[in-house]
């Protein structure tokens, strides 16, 4: 194995046109940076904030895909339910920050397990596409059912987080807020916890075994059903935290909230290499920053196109994402 820098040099020597395009983009960014360095750094900071929220959602996608090879399209809507739970807990019932977060985690984890039991488990032996269609069905159901009048009554709320006072301060002209620090701290804590669970506990060992080979794991006496259920619970719980943090950062809430962040987090997971936990974090940070730069310098709808173009280009040259293992397709 050669070291990383020389591999990068070899890669760009082989694909010189990519190097030229990359250089042009860097030059363009440098021009923008010279215009106003402050703005640039502000976008980077905002991108980091967004990226850390995406990371929480992306982890759920990546874990579920790693274990059952299913793109869980309902994940974004679980995230939405998490944000509504936190909203109702804090505003209507005046709960504190941590109890509200615990409630969001609990509700989302329960919802995740219910979805898995109802919609995915009966189809585990069916063609994979059937489970994908039920995932889309569950996603539609959550979106439109919660939009009904008696479920999450007002559809479009400007949410001011009561349990926290937003304080912002400027460091050399760049605005930070305590929300951002909170997001980074909570996400880091979750990542550490997740890393501990996956690499240092028996459950984590079982998860990795099931992800590697389900049949053999079953032969080794691992309770595969329990492992899959707990994966869904953990992933959905993380999405619940993500939902709460997302509405703290972007105080606007509606039942279609989960669609775009869900898609972006999914892209981030694929970008980083689906099935890989550090990949999900790094992919999310990159996607968050690219998105914020595109939104700031180009236009708001343009950012989706830019993000997807970046994804497609990365996939073309690294078909399993940045940190993804090489495909282990059975011949």
């Amino acid at each position: 194995m050669r070291d990383l820098p020389s591999r990068i040099i070899v890669f760009f020597r082989r694909n010189w046109y990519l190097a030229i395009i990359g250089l042009l983009i860097l030059l363009w960014l440098a021009g923008r940076y010279r215009e106003s360095p402050l703005l640039f750094w502000q976008f980077i900071v905002d991108g980091l904030r967004l990226g850390f929220v995406y990371a929480l959602i992306a982890l759920g996608y990546t874990m579920v895909y790693g274990i059952v090879r299913l793109i869980n399209f309902a994940h974004g809507d679980v995230f939405m339910v998490g944000s509504y739970t936190a909203y109702f807990a804090t505003t209507r019932y005046q709960w504190g920050f941590l109890p509200a977060m615990a409630l969001a985690v609990g509700v989302c984890a329960f919802l995740g397990v219910v979805i898995e039991r109802v919609a995915y488990k009966p189809l585990r032996d069916a063609p994979r596409i059937a489970a994908l269609i039920t995932a889309i069905g569950v996603s539609f159901f959550l979106e439109y059912f919660t939009a009904l009048d008696f479920v999450f009554t007002p559809n479009f709320i400007n949410y001011t987080p009561l349990p926290l006072k937003i304080t912002t301060w400027e460091v050399r002209g760049i605005t930070f807020s305590n929300i951002m620090l909170l997001i980074i701290a909570v996400t880091t804590a979750c990542l550490v916890l997740l890393w501990y669970i996956v690499y240092r506990t028996k459950l984590g060992k079982a998860m990795r075994a099931v992800a590697w080979d389900k049949e053999t794991a079953l032969l080794m006496g691992i309770n595969v059903d329990l492992v899959i259920t707990s994966t869904f619970a953990i992933g959905s719980g993380l999405a619940g935290i993500g939902g709460m943090l997302y509405v703290l950062a972007y105080p606007q809430i509606r039942t279609f909230l989960g669609v775009m962040p869900g898609l972006k987090a999914f892209i981030a997971a694929v970008f980083g290499g689906i099935g890989s936990i550090p990949g999900a974090l790094i992919g999310s940070l990159v996607i968050g920053m690219v998105e914020m730069l595109a939104q700031g310098y180009l236009s708001s709808p343009m950012r989706d196109a830019i993000v997807f173009s970046v994804l497609i280009i990365v996939l073309l040259y690294r078909p399993t994402g940045l940190f993804g293992e090489a495909a282990r397709e059975k011949a």
């Binding site: 090879r69 793109i71 109802v118 919609a119 009966p122 189809l123 069916a126 063609p127 994979r128 596409i129 059937a130 489970a131 994908l132 269609i133 039920t134 889309i136 069905g137 569950v138 996603s139 539609f140 159901f141 979106e143 439109y144 059912f145 939009a147 009904l148 009048d149 669609v259 898609l263 892209i267 694929v270 236009s299 709808p301 343009m302 989706d304 196109a305 997807f308 173009s309 994804l311 497609i312 996939l315 073309l316 078909p319 399993t320 495909a327 397709e329 011949a331």
Partner: protein, 388 residues
């Protein structure tokens, strides 16, 4: 087998008789009984949707390439053809005087019309529509050729699906910003002033065209190569099949029909909005083909009409004040169908002429070497392993 009998596009007289009968029944008996809205959403739009779904079924159901980008090619076909007809506008109009036939009073109960005008159409407009459909479809096919070649070369299974989903999103964003280059599209506000030219005749004609083309390609040597890629790509490669070539062919054919459908859609509603081409709707064709059964043409046709009629019919059937429940009932139905029949509504059942034809070659081979034929006939069907 009698080879001298009437054949057109590979189909015998029975098929064409059935097509004409279905068309006449729908045109004279069904459509006059429906109002404008139901005529559009229950009859014409499902025909268009069926064309997209047949294309997608060819890509995913028969070739096994998980594509979510069909909606992007649909959008390309719609916008390309709409811009063409918008520019050429009303300049082409050569009405052809038809024959007016009095409907006998006995038949008037069945056909609620006093007279039928035969061969009464606008030759200029029809020609323009044909050119527009061809233009939209060919553009969609060319773009899919470039995109498909680059992406299929490197990506497979789920990653191909993600890349094509990305393609659909990129197309939508470009359409939102398209008024910078082409002012007629009016960007995010939506394009208005497209001449309304799609009638039931055109939608049905292109549906039959798509069905016949896909069926004939499927049961040709190209079709067998395409299906072999789905069954086992490695084995197909080992048999000397250029898998990339056949994957690209299937992708281009599927996208071509998405373009056809897009052009028909644009001239049906006479209004195009980039919002309609959002990525969430791009799951609709995928849902339909899985509902009908992957790799099943009959199932696709049936599922499209069932899907459209239930989804739009719920506007009428749901009690007053429960209109918002439409999309609550729909996913529940979807879930139930998928849980009860994961292989699709029809599974492997194909109707009549859509079944794989019995090749005369096999009879010859059976006569020449009966023991070989018996040995192969005794084998069970090979297990299908489909990557989603």
């Amino acid at each position: 087998m009698n080879r001298s009998r009437f054949r057109f596009l590979g189909q015998g007289w029975l098929f064409w008789l059935a097509v004409v009968l279905i068309f006449l029944l729908a045109q004279w008996v069904l459509i006059p009984r429906l109002n404008e809205f139901r005529r559009t959403v229950w009859v014409m739009f499902p025909c268009i949707m069926a064309i997209i779904c047949l294309g997608l079924n060819f890509i995913f159901g028969f070739n096994g390439q998980f594509s979510l980008g069909q909606w992007g090619f649909y959008a390309i076909g719609a916008y390309a053809s709409a811009i063409l007809t918008y520019r050429l506008g009303e300049r082409f109009s050569y009405p052809v005087q038809g024959i007016v036939v009095q409907v006998p009073p006995l038949l008037q109960k069945l056909i609620p019309m006093a007279e039928i005008s035969l061969f009464h159409f606008d030759a200029g407009k029809s020609g323009l529509l044909l050119v527009a459909v061809l233009f939209g479809a060919v553009l969609a096919a060319l773009i899919s050729l470039a995109f498909g070649y680059v992406v299929l070369l490197r990506l497979g299974s789920d990653y191909f699906g993600i890349a094509t989903l990305g393609f659909a999103v990129i197309v939508q964003v470009l359409l939102i910003n398209s008024d910078l280059v082409i002012p007629e599209t009016k960007g995010a506000r939506g394009m208005v002033g497209i001449p309304q030219m799609t009638s039931f005749f055109w939608a049905f004609l292109f549906l039959v065209f798509a069905l016949v083309v896909i069926r004939n390609v499927l049961y040709s040597s190209v079709g067998r190569a395409v299906v072999s890629v789905r069954e086992d790509e490695l084995a197909a490669k080992a048999m000397g099949i250029n898998t990339l070539k056949y994957k690209t062919i299937a992708f281009v054919i599927g996208s071509f029909f998405a373009g056809v459908a897009g052009a028909l859609y644009a001239h049906l509603y006479a209004f195009l909005s980039p919002l309609y081409f959002g990525f969430q709707k791009s799951f609709d064709p995928m849902i339909i083909i899985v509902l009908g059964g992957l790799g099943n043409l009959t199932g696709t046709l049936l599922a499209t009409f069932l899907w459209a009629i239930t989804l739009e019919g719920m506007r009428i059937w749901l009690p007053q004040g429960f209109e918002a429940w439409r999309f609550v009932v729909y996913p529940i139905v979807l879930l139930l169908v998928m849980l009860l029949r994961p292989q699709g509504l029809l599974g492997k059942f194909e109707f009549g002429f859509l079944r794989a034809p019995k090749w005369p070659l096999r009879q010859v081979a059976a006569e020449a070497a009966p023991q070989v034929a018996e040995a192969t006939a005794g084998n069970p069907e090979p297990q299908e392993e489909r990557s989603a």
